[in-house]
């Protein structure tokens, strides 16, 4: 109870501080400073492990499972999808930059011409449509999920490198930031309530993960081989606070992913990973 109250005070302070029009980079630095001040013993590089960074017992289980992850056959399916030519005869590697390797950390980016945020899934869908195929539905495990789970392994270790350049890009970033800090739902929680003010704290039996480091490791395989995409997780999070979420692939969640991803700039991609 005491912790919860402290958390609420924290929210007010931090919310106030970040609401001042600041640059994305100062937002990121401020967020990291907040975590490292609270948890001086945890290196920011370990935030890519999420809540596992705060609990050695959980991290040991993660390591044991990652030795030979149960979802390997899903990645193989994704590899086949990746290598199968599209209707035009071209492959994904032909239409994505750098043959699709070491690029996942550049997404989402802001497309000036289109005037909107483009996620990796949007880029894959653009590639599909340009080559005579239908777009996949964002959040669909069997298609976008399986394909990106493999595709992101080609960027394993790449440092997250999100750019916010120009006023329109900044608007999209600020919109995502607003979603992140806005309280919503019956429980009146924001993303930040849990993943900033209460990161590293237990919510009942659950350790809460920090927002920095979140976006480097999606999709995750929960409980072994149940694939969950980042925006599907957003929808799940909103549902948990009894809020009706915008759907996966919507502008609102794309902007949220843009802001959220910026927070992990400089951290290495971890693809793909087990989570409980």
């Amino acid at each position: 109870m005491k912790k919860a109250i402290l958390g609420l005070i924290g929210l007010g302070l931090l919310g106030g501080a970040v609401n001042v029009m600041a640059s994305p980079e100062s937002d990121r630095q401020e967020m990291i400073k907040y975590y490292t001040t609270k948890y001086p013993n945890i290196k920011i590089d370990d935030y890519v492990y999420g809540a596992l960074a705060f609990d050695a017992d959980s991290k040991a289980q993660y390591d044991a499972i990652m030795e030979f992850p149960p979802y390997e056959s899903v990645l193989e399916k994704g590899k086949k999808m990746w290598e199968t030519p599209l209707k035009s005869g071209k492959t994904y590697a032909d239409c994505l930059p750098n043959g699709g390797k070491n690029i996942a950390g550049n997404y989402p980016y802001f497309d000036e011409k289109a005037g909107k945020v483009v996620t990796l899934i949007d880029a894959i869908n653009a590639c599909r449509v340009a080559n005579g195929e239908q777009a996949y539905k964002p959040g669909d495990k069997a298609t976008t999920g399986t394909l990106t789970a493999y595709m992101r392994t080609l960027s394993d270790g790449m440092l997250m490198n999100i750019k916010v350049e120009g006023p329109k890009a900044l608007d999209a970033y600020e919109d995502g930031k607003k979603t992140f800090f806005s309280r919503a739902g019956q429980l009146n929680f924001s993303c930040a309530t849990c993943h900033v003010q209460n990161a590293g704290v237990r919510l009942r039996s659950e350790l809460i993960s920090p927002a920095v480091g979140h976006t480097v490791h999606w999709p995750v395989f929960r409980g072994g081989d149940n694939l969950v995409e980042l925006q599907t997780r957003y929808v799940g999070c909103f549902k948990s606070v009894r809020h009706i979420s915008a759907p996966a692939g919507s502008e609102k969640l794309n902007n949220l992913e843009y802001f959220h991803s910026y927070l992990s700039n400089g951290l290495p991609m971890k693809a793909s990973v087990f989570r409980k």
């Binding site: 959980s58 040991a60 289980q61 149960p70 995750v220 409980g223 948990s240």
Partner: protein, 155 residues
């Protein structure tokens, strides 16, 4: 450790039943581990399982190391690693005591295989994970408590 002692006390009646069965000549203490009858995997509860495995109350051993989490991240995939430094270890069985059918798997070693097994098991409830080791015709045991919580988060 305390959890183990509590369990041994709690299991006393069960062990008694096994002892009676041994005395009555219903089961024999010495056995070949690889020949674990299939019925042992369907047996409910620890007492019946041990009976079906043909095991008399095995001796506690500090030479068995069980590497398993204190709190399972997910009860569907609990990494368990058992190492036996007892000379002549020929078999390791893994049991999750509170599972509907406690016997999860058993392994027998030959031809240079070490007294070591690493696997992942399902656990329905917080319970002791027990390893039963066969070495030189005798059986030894150790246990470690693993807490299982119903979790929802993960990211």
């Amino acid at each position: 450790m305390n959890a183990l002692r509590r369990n041994v006390l709690k299991g006393a009646t069960g062990a008694g039943a096994v002892a009676v069965a041994v005395a009555a000549g219903l089961i024999t203490p010495a056995r070949v581990l690889a020949a674990t009858p299939r019925s042992a995997f369907d047996a409910k509860g620890m007492a019946d399982t041990m009976k079906a495995m043909g095991l008399a109350a095995p001796a506690d051993s500090k030479d068995i190391t069980i590497k398993a989490p204190d709190i399972a991240e997910n009860g569907a995939v609990v990494p368990v690693e058992v190492t036996s430094s007892i000379a002549g270890t020929s078999g390791i069985a893994i049991l999750a005591e509170k599972n509907a059918s406690p016997l999860v798997a058993d392994f027998s070693f030959q031809g240079g295989a070490q007294g070591f097994i690493s696997t992942r098991i399902k656990m329905a409830n917080t319970s002791l994970v027990r390893a039963v080791v066969t070495a030189g015709g005798k059986t030894y045991t150790a246990a470690k408590e693993v807490k299982v919580t119903i979790g929802g988060c993960g990211g």
